[in-house]
Amino acid sequence: MEKSLKKRGYCHVFGDRFSLDEGIMPFKFAIERVTDPKKLIPHLFKSTDPDFPGKVKPGDFVIGGQDFACGKPHVQGFIAMAALNLGVICQSMPYKAMRRAVSVGLPLLTGCNPGADFLQNGDEIEVDFATGEARNLTRGTSTRLPSMSPILRDIVVNGGMNGALAAWLKDHPEQAAVEPVALSDSSGAVPVSFVPARKS
């Protein structure tokens, strides 16, 4: 099912090879497995721009260059960005990082090189992720960026992987739990027929 995904906000421009752990969210939150957005948001991009947490507004855009969010694909930075309802526009992103971003519902456009002649830090833009149409409201210009796959858009508008799975279950009630399976260490083994692969 295809849903629209349009956003409007201000641009925060970052460069090439922008590291997740060093530039976006301190590594310590990954080690501590912090997933609460409230704890993560005050640290988002702070190591790069100490003023970022104070000036970012919900709906804003993070503009990356090549290899945006490189390094180990820790999810904490993406959780904070998704919770702030940010969007990402970048030239490229490591595949695993892109998967993590989509899995927490962060809208993104990759393969984009809008260039300084279209947008600069602080510009207000409006982007339709379905078509790639982008308007710079500050400068009164427009351009066409590569669109976001409808498959990924659908996951993002559902809020990420868990949201998409909840939506799937709603559409497929036959897979829903009637009685949950109780797993414990005292319930005894339940035999399962073993089906070995046959050798030719």
């Binding site: 490591p94 279950l169 829903a176 009685e179 046959r198």
Partner: protein, 429 residues
């Protein structure tokens, strides 16, 4: 929604395009396109079954979409060494029953889930599958495409698929022949280091690495597995080959070879005749170095096995370095045949005996210490050389232990020497 109509109907396709197009029920898919391929199998190992069950139960799921395609394998904790492991095994059997899973390969059945499905005919040339564990890329050796999806396997179980972006393909042409004492794992380490260092100025991120060339002709299935396994950790999408698998009848299989002139995101040539033994320094397979740079360094622990070097040939080739020799005092050496069938053949052919007589210990088929050091672990301050899949800190248990990787030949020679040793120096002229 229906797939986008092909805009380049007659353009040559890469192997991965063919696999994914077939799995989407289409004639072709385009590189970079995001698709929902349907797998023929979904493989999950014993270390993750409880977790994914818990995650789906928390979302309200009682049934997986296509249980008959799901395979549970047991390779991470085979010989239960804790009460928790006993409990885990019991829970896995319960989950398999509740979910009506197609196949459960329980403890002592099959062996390593990245190897036995090939020898058992469960994974076949031309097949597309998803798996929890990234080292399912081994199946590239047999001409199958298996995508390791990690925690996202919950989506595969729930919905029967998972979004996948059709990757680009980088070709690696092998020329010449490996000199004696060099091994396909050495080629794998060299490539890991080269890609990570930008030696060829070719990105490997989510690229299919496709081997081809005259040098590939001499590679056995086990050699192909070694290439697949070594490269997986650095973030490639998968490893495939430009020719059918050796020793496997793939005549009736669907097309799994790239077309002539299919798009390529890079071409690399490796002259096998120049290969010298390599190691991966502690930290990751990308930290490749010539063995000569660490030769003579003391070792406490040696291990041949795990998914990259657990096939018959790996042990048979290594055995000649321990035959009629003794493992050095103070070194504990383990061999872990990849599968029950490999273990049987090694025993039948007297190869196990060569290792045992030298003072090595035999582990049950499975991951061995490579699964976090559950069995045969490394202690703080100790040094290991092994054929494990990877060597990040703590991989063998202690975060203060140092794990080096080498070929089965290098590991065997080192175990006998008591230090990192060049296998070429242990060979008869």
């Amino acid at each position: 929604m229906p797939g986008t109509e092909a805009s380049h109907e007659n353009m040559p396709m890469t192997a991965v395009q063919k696999f994914l197009a077939r799995a989407c029920g289409r004639d072709r898919v385009e590189i970079g396109e995001v698709v929902y391929p349907k797998p023929e199998l979904v493989i999950i190992h014993d270390g993750y079954v409880e977790t994914v069950h818990g995650e789906l139960a928390a979302l309200g799921y009682a049934r997986v979409r296509d249980p008959k395609r799901v395979v549970f394998v047991t390779d991470h904790e085979v010989a239960y060494t804790t009460q928790r492991a006993v409990e885990r095994g019991r829970n896995i059997r319960k989950i398999a029953k509740a979910w009506e899973i197609g196949r459960l390969f329980d403890v002592g059945r099959g062996g390593h889930g990245h190897i036995f499905p090939m020898e058992a005919g469960l994974v076949r040339p031309g097949m597309f599958l998803f798996a929890y564990d990234m080292h399912c890329s081994n199946f590239g050796a047999i001409g199958a495409l298996a995508i390791g999806v990690g925690a996202e396997v919950s989506s595969v179980l729930a919905t029967g698929s998972l979004w996948t972006q059709v990757p680009e393909t980088v070709r690696v042409e092998l020329t010449g022949a490996l000199p004696s004492g060099a091994h396909p794992r050495d080629v794998g380490f060299l490539l890991c280091g080269g890609f990570a260092n930008g030696r060829w100025n070719v990105s490997h991120d989510n690229r299919i690495i496709e081997f081809c060339g005259s040098g590939l002709e001499a590679f056995s299935l086990a050699s192909r597995v070694a290439l697949c396994n070594s490269l997986t950790e650095i973030g490639v999408a998968n490893v495939l080959f430009g020719s059918p698998p050796p020793g496997i009848d793939s005549s009736g299989a669907p097309d799994f070879i790239s077309d002539l002139g299919a798009p390529s995101a890079g071409n690399i040539v490796v002259d096998l005749s120049t290969m010298v033994p390599q190691v991966a320094l502690p930290g990751g397979p990308d930290l490749a170095a010539d063995l000569a740079s660490v030769e003579g360094r003391h070792i406490d622990h040696a291990f041949i096995g795990a998914c990259g070097s657990g096939m018959y040939e790996d042990f048979a080739d290594a055995a000649r370095f321990v035959k009629n020799r003794r493992i050095a005092d103070g070194v504990r050496m383990f061999i872990g045949p990849g599968t029950n069938e490999v273990a049987r053949r090694l025993a039948d052919d007297g190869i196990t005996q060569m290792f045992v007589e030298a003072g090595a210990m035999v582990l049950p088929p499975g991951c061995g210490p490579c699964a976090g050091g559950i069995i045969a672990p490394l202690g703080p301050g100790e040094v290991s050389i092994s054929t494990a899949a990877t060597n990040h800190s703590g991989r063998f248990g202690s975060v203060d232990g140092q794990c080096y990787l080498g070929s089965p030949l290098t590991v065997a020679a080192s175990a006998v020497a008591g230090c990192m040793a060049d296998p070429r120096k242990f060979m008869s002229p």
